[in-house]
């Protein structure tokens, strides 16, 4: 946001806010400990709106549920914004002092009246109005989101649409008022911060900025590429075109985690050379030419990770890695040596010192301080800096220091995978409390809560399709089909279905999902596929019943 890729608030700020908007996030199950903080805020009297197509366990805690159509988030945000403007509830002083582009924004959202918003989103105009007024009038307000916002073809627009609301009301840069994107994975924040993005060096520094690049070239003693690289979906496009022929995968299982699994398999199998470095022999590793067994970074090696509140924390070695598994740094150094560069035997601490030298955010974060203070939140440029629990406080300086925060004009764009007569149901995906991503890690323990993959249907659709709980049905999208047992969830509205990605060995949900990608973030639209659900109990007349049964239970 405004040049800093991180949430603006510390978790504990939500305990003292007045209004909580949980948008596209089932934090009760996906970020349970953050939800503890959220509930403290609720206990202290905060009002809570939950925006989610599904009536999830998080929604159950909200004062108001806004069950919008999948992929109508921009329309909803714009309708909220328009109502705030129309009702004269903007924070005019803040807008004038700290932002830019308000007039363009105002003009752009003008068509998003409450009525039009209701039509586009399915959310009642009264509820939109309620949220708009409550958000604008609250002394402090937090908007939190997760993959419900970002796993869309227009993910970045969704985020901009929400940021616009915070600028409209001044709910940014103050304790208790802010924007909280909850990261889906342990070190997504840290990965980006450390430069594992195609366009950034460590510390959010642009690779195409010649001055910055020069600094890194001095540090590394060699010239660096002048152009940004490819993000994940661009890499797959490059594989498709034959521009990318060799891939080195570290700690990722794209064979099962990518949308449109059939395409992913074809492209990975078609590479000239595939290297996988992982703690497991994943499905991706199974087709690799070289597999480098790695130590588990969180408990078999030293280092740091960065959380959703920009807090850098130490991970430590508690176990010796098994067999031939080696520390990631050690593997990389050995590889460098084979490629002709001797880095010696760098330690995590030494690598961290390099980060501190090069990043404007991490300079004050010595290991000693990180350990003594339970981590530090960036930016923390110097040894005497206390870290930054709240970001963008500068917007409240008078006059504002640094650049103004820009409104970004964005417009509603429905999901790419259109609903038609052949594919009349919306399939959305997400996580359950006890499982994680493709289940590679969570499959390791026995959870009493785990019941395998199921296609969740609304009671109305189940009745219409004459499907009963436990019945195995076929789910078909434009890209393929899978079979799964039915679960009926009264929290789903008619027309909406739900699956997870946790059990790809049993049900490969990503056969169904679409790899429509936001070109800016590289994230696929896992949240919105068009499907139909078919009964498979009626065996074709020519086929013996036994065969079909055998296939179903394979």
């Amino acid at each position: 946001m405004f040049g800093a890729g991180g949430g603006t608030s510390a978790y504990r700020e939500i305990e003292e806010t007045d209004l909580i908007v949980l948008w596209g996030s089932n934090a009760r199950e996906t970020h349970p400990i953050f939800f503890h903080h959220l509930l403290k805020g609720k206990q202290a009297g905060a009002r809570m709106f939950a925006i989610d197509p599904r009536r999830t366990s998080s929604v159950a805690w909200a004062d108001v549920w806004m069950g919008l159509e999948v992929g109508s988030d921009v329309a909803l945000a714009n309708a909220i914004g328009r109502e705030i403007i129309a009702a004269g509830l903007c924070n005019t002083a803040f807008i004038e002092r700290a932002t830019s582009g308000f007039e363009e924004y105002k003009a752009a959202v003008e068509p998003y009246t409450l009525e039009h918003g209701e039509k586009l989103t399915g959310v009642k105009a009264d509820a939109i109005r309620d949220l708009a007024h409550s958000y604008a009038r609250a002394d402090r307000a937090q908007v939190c989101w997760t993959l419900g916002i970002t796993e869309h073809h227009n993910a970045v627009d969704n985020v901009f649409a929400i940021i616009n609301l915070s600028l409209l009301t001044g709910h940014i840069g103050r304790f208790g008022s802010g924007l909280v994107p909850l990261r889906g994975q342990n070190n997504v924040q840290g990965g980006g911060d450390m430069g594992a993005l195609p366009n950034k060096f460590v510390g959010g520094q642009d690779v195409e900025d010649p001055e910055l690049r020069a600094m890194f070239e001095r540090e590394y003693g060699r010239p660096l590429l002048e152009k940004r690289g490819w993000h994940l979906s661009e890499m797959f496009d490059a594989m498709e075109k034959g521009d990318l022929r060799a891939v080195y995968v570290l700690g990722e299982n794209p064979m099962q985690s990518e949308a449109d699994a059939k395409r992913t398999r074809r492209l990975l199998e078609g590479l000239d050379h595939l290297v996988v470095q992982d703690i497991f022999l994943t499905k991706t590793a199974e087709v690799a030419d070289v597999v480098l067994p790695a130590a588990a970074s969180w408990c078999e090696s030293e280092g740091t990770v960065t959380s959703s509140e920009r807090r850098v924390q130490r991970v430590r070695k508690a176990l010796d890695p098994p067999g031939q598994a080696r520390d990631d740094i050690e593997i990389l150094a050995a590889l460098a040596r084979r490629l002709g560069t001797d880095w010696g035997a760098p330690t995590a601490a030494a690598v961290w010192e390099e980060v501190r030298r090069l990043s404007p955010w991490h300079g004050g974060m010595s290991y000693a301080r990180l350990e003594a203070l339970n981590g530090l939140q960036w930016p923390c440029p110097t040894d005497d800096h206390p870290g930054s629990p709240t970001l963008h406080t500068r917007l409240w300086d008078d006059p504002v220091t640094g650049p103004r925060a820009p409104f970004e004009v964005v417009h509603h764009a429905p999901p790419v995978d259109e609903l038609t007569e052949d594919f009349p149901l919306r399939l959305t995906t997400g996580r359950r409390l006890d499982s994680y991503n493709t289940g590679v890690q969570t499959g390791g323990y026995t959870s009493p809560l785990r019941h395998g993959e199921r296609i969740e249907l609304s009671p109305e659709d189940a009745e219409r399709l004459q499907m009963v709980p436990g019945e195995v049905v076929r789910i078909v999208s434009r890209r393929g089909s899978v079979e799964a047992p039915v679960k009926i969830d009264p929290g789903l509205r008619p027309g909406l279905t739900f699956m997870t990605l946790h059990f790809p060995d049993d049900v490969e949900t990503n056969i169904l999902t679409i790899d429509a990608v936001d070109p800016r973030s590289g994230t696929a639209e896992f949240k919105a596929a068009a499907v139909r659900v078919e009964k498979i109990s009626v065996a074709p007349a020519a086929e013996p019943v036994g065969a079909s049964t055998a296939e179903r239970t394979r």
Binding site: Y11, R12, T30, H31, P32, I33, F34, H36, L39, Q43, L182, R183, G184, Q185, N186, N187, V188, Q189, I279, F280, A296, S297, W298, C299, E300, V305, T306, S307, S308, E309, R311, Q313, R314, V315, R316, K317, A318, L319, D320, P322, G323, A325, N374, G375, T393, W396, L433, D434, Y436, V440, Q441, T442, G443, G444, Y445, T446, S447, P448, L449
Partner: protein, 292 residues
């Protein structure tokens, strides 16, 4: 930002064991004792939970009060004269330990409680009768261990009814409310509805109840099994702080490792992200690194 100070801190002067003590307003007597370097035994108190003051082991004598007062929850007031080592205080603390020791299996309790028992010269055996039957026989909370899932066991023979697990499952942390105190009096227990097994209950296996249990009544099944097999050995265990590998919240987990295996997971109570609490993945989801 406004130039108004965040808050005014007012101070309270009181006397504890003859010493003048000054503490910020709102400080509990327990905290005031701590600040004066006076050790106070506690059992149902935990810094990450709301004080319920049910165990009564932290009671102190306040001059002018008819009964002893629980220091964990009583705020210090100006002019209070407090005694923490009077005959009445020592008697109550000793008797509370004796009563617990006479009815509950404390064999796996945190050693600090056993040290406190010794400090107050508690002799729970005073209540033993030798006679196991008849209406004068000594009642205990002895009962079979509840093992109904693969993650943790509940041995209410070891339960001192400190309410901590109920608080951690409830509004102090998890807000799942899978357990509550049921029944009444000596036969009050921690229970799910109708004592239904955990897999049928609301339990989400965050294990935050285990994290606050002072006596080992709630225990990782792995620890329970190792103790049964005689292989549990805390002297061979090291504890390492690291960060949970799952979602992006970044919870600090403490891995208790014996023989290069994780045998238990906790989180520090004083950490402002977790406040000692985890979810099912952080608490139990470590197994994958050991399945390689």
């Amino acid at each position: 930002m406004d130039a108004v100070p965040m808050s005014f801190v007012r101070y309270v002067d009181l006397t504890i064991d003859g010493k003048s003590v000054r503490v910020p307003e709102g400080t509990t007597l327990l905290q005031a004792c701590q600040s004066a370097g006076i050790e106070t035994p506690t059992l149902c108190y935990a810094e990450n939970l709301t004080p319920v003051n049910v165990c009564r082991v932290c009671v102190v004598e306040v001059e002018g009060a008819r009964t002893l007062v629980p220091s964990c929850s009583r705020p210090a007031e100006p002019g209070m004269v407090v005694h923490t080592d009077s005959e009445r205080v020592r008697h109550s603390r000793r008797l509370v330990f004796e009563l617990l020791g006479s009815s509950v299996d404390l064999s796996t309790a945190d050693p600090k409680y056993l040290a406190d028992m010794a400090r107050y010269e508690a002799v729970p055996e005073r209540f033993d009768t030798g006679d196991a039957t008849g209406h004068g026989a000594k009642a205990t909370v002895q009962q079979p261990v509840k093992i109904d899932n693969e993650l943790y066991v509940r041995d209410y023979s070891k339960c001192v009814l400190c309410y901590k697990c109920v608080e951690a499952c409830g509004t102090d942390a998890q807000n799942t409310f899978a357990i509550a105190v049921a029944g009444r009096g000596f036969h009050a227990t921690i229970a799910t509805e109708f004592e239904t097994p955990l897999p049928d209950s609301a339990c989400v296996y965050c294990g935050n109840c285990i994290g606050v249990c002072p006596t080992g009544a709630l225990m990782f099944k792995s620890e329970h099994d190792m103790r049964e097999a005689g292989t549990w050995d805390e002297s061979k265990q090291a504890v390492t702080d690291t960060i949970c590998p799952y979602c992006g919240v970044g919870c600090t987990v403490q891995l208790h490792v014996q023989d290069n295996s994780i045998v238990r997971v906790t989180s520090p109570h004083d950490h402002d992200v977790t406040e000692g609490h985890l979810c099912i993945k952080g608490r139990f989801g470590f197994q994958f690194v050991q399945n390689r």
